[in-house]
């Protein structure tokens, strides 16, 4: 089971600024271990962010994204107390969903 994300969602003017830290190895599949064996690729492929139940961001990621990724973005609308729900799915089909309240 993956570690929880760290999510901050704050109202900035008429937009909501979301900052997310995800805990993930993001292994590229290009590296080799000490024995010379390729370390298999293991990375987040899909990220979905929903405000209440409306999707405000959907992204496809690849192995070029760094380990323990940080994602920051803004969307229009949102009010204090609303929920922001974030889900990622990796290429092992492991998935994690976390929720934050807009402050």
């Amino acid at each position: 089971m993956a570690d929880p994300m760290k999510i901050r969602a704050n109202l900035v003017g008429d937009a909501t600024e979301v900052k997310v830290l995800m805990s993930h190895e993001m292994e590229t599949g290009q590296r080799k271990d000490a024995d010379g064996k390729v370390i298999p690729a293991w990375f987040i492929q899909n990220v979905k962010v929903a405000h209440n139940d409306k999707v405000v961001l959907a992204a496809q990621w690849g192995p070029a994204v760094a380990k323990n990724p940080f994602l920051s973005f803004r969307f229009k609308g949102g009010a204090k107390g609303d929920k922001v729900k974030i889900t990622w799915t990796d290429n092992h089909n492991d998935t994690r969903t976390d929720e934050a309240t807009i402050a």
Partner: protein, 273 residues
């Protein structure tokens, strides 16, 4: 003939001067750019992921005895975390030893939670999700609870005073295959390894800035590293014998640098290249 040589000499001097100016400008823009890079990373410091994991670990019952860290005294009373790191290392009468944070955590894991010493010292330095370090996560949590607190290490306490003096001696002690001391790299302004500027730890500002920003998330390693790791890797780079985790030598150097940082607000866990 003579004038030609003079001219060539003059041109040579001019070229050297120009190269010096250029390399100074380059060095400045490099450290500026690295400063910008650090600032950009500040906002999403993955150290927070370690802090969160460490907090959970701190509060959960652990080990064969199923005891949480609520009974672990970091110097300010059992279970008190807030501000504790700003006063470490310190002398602990129960252990009859000066201890830094990591050593104290191991002490609590062994004496209260019932771990064997080798279990408590497993993965002192983490390596990926398969070899995660409990100590690094716990250190991240404990240190985060001292953010903004002024460093206040008790140097007038006799045991601490001895450790500080020992650490100072080690800092200037030259040895190893390269005849290096800590002071070889950290005793002057403007020293660097490749493009990485090194803090001058013989100046109070340098020591304060360096000490108060460990532990730190190392982007190049994707791991959170503690001060024990920092010292261990410095020893490796100097080609010294391996610094034993939690040894008196490691604590003496920590006591020396923490003491030099006294008065500065603690500012970690930070993020470093």
């Amino acid at each position: 003939m003579r004038t030609m040589m003079q001219r060539a000499l003059a041109a040579g001097c001019a070229a050297t001067a120009l190269a010096a100016v250029m390399s100074a400008a380059l060095a400045e823009s490099t450290s500026d750019e690295i400063a910008k890079y650090r600032e950009a990373l500040q906002d999403g410091n993955p150290a927070e992921l370690w802090e969160a994991r460490g907090e959970e670990m701190w509060k959960a019952p652990r080990g064969p005895n199923k005891v949480s860290f609520a009974s672990c005294d970091l110097g300010l009373g059992p279970g008190v975390v807030k501000g504790a790191y700003a006063e470490l290392p310190r002398y602990f009468p129960d252990a009859k030893r000066v201890m830094d944070l990591e050593t104290r955590l191991v002490y609590c894991m062994v004496s209260q939670q019932g771990y064997s010493e080798s279990d408590a010292l497993r993965n002192t330095f983490g390596n990926g999700s398969a070899h995660r370090s409990d100590l690094e996560a716990l250190a991240a949590y404990v240190t985060s609870q001292s953010r903004g607190v002024a460093m206040n290490v008790a140097l007038d306490e006799p045991h601490m005073h001895d450790m500080y003096r020992l650490g100072e001696k080690m800092f200037y002690y030259r040895g190893g295959t390269h005849d290096f001391a800590c002071a070889t790299c950290h005793g002057d302004d403007g020293k660097r390894i490749r493009l990485q500027d090194l803090p001058n730890l013989t100046k109070i500002e340098g020591a304060q800035k360096a000490y108060t920003t460990w532990p730190a998330y190392r982007v190049s390693q994707g791991e959170l590293r503690t001060f024990q790791w920092r010292l261990n890797d410095c020893f490796r780079q100097q080609r010294f014998p391996e610094l034993e985790f939690g040894s008196d030598a490691s604590i003496a150097l920590t006591a020396y640098l923490a003491g030099r940082a006294n008065g500065a607000a603690y500012d970690g866990p930070a993020i470093k290249r």
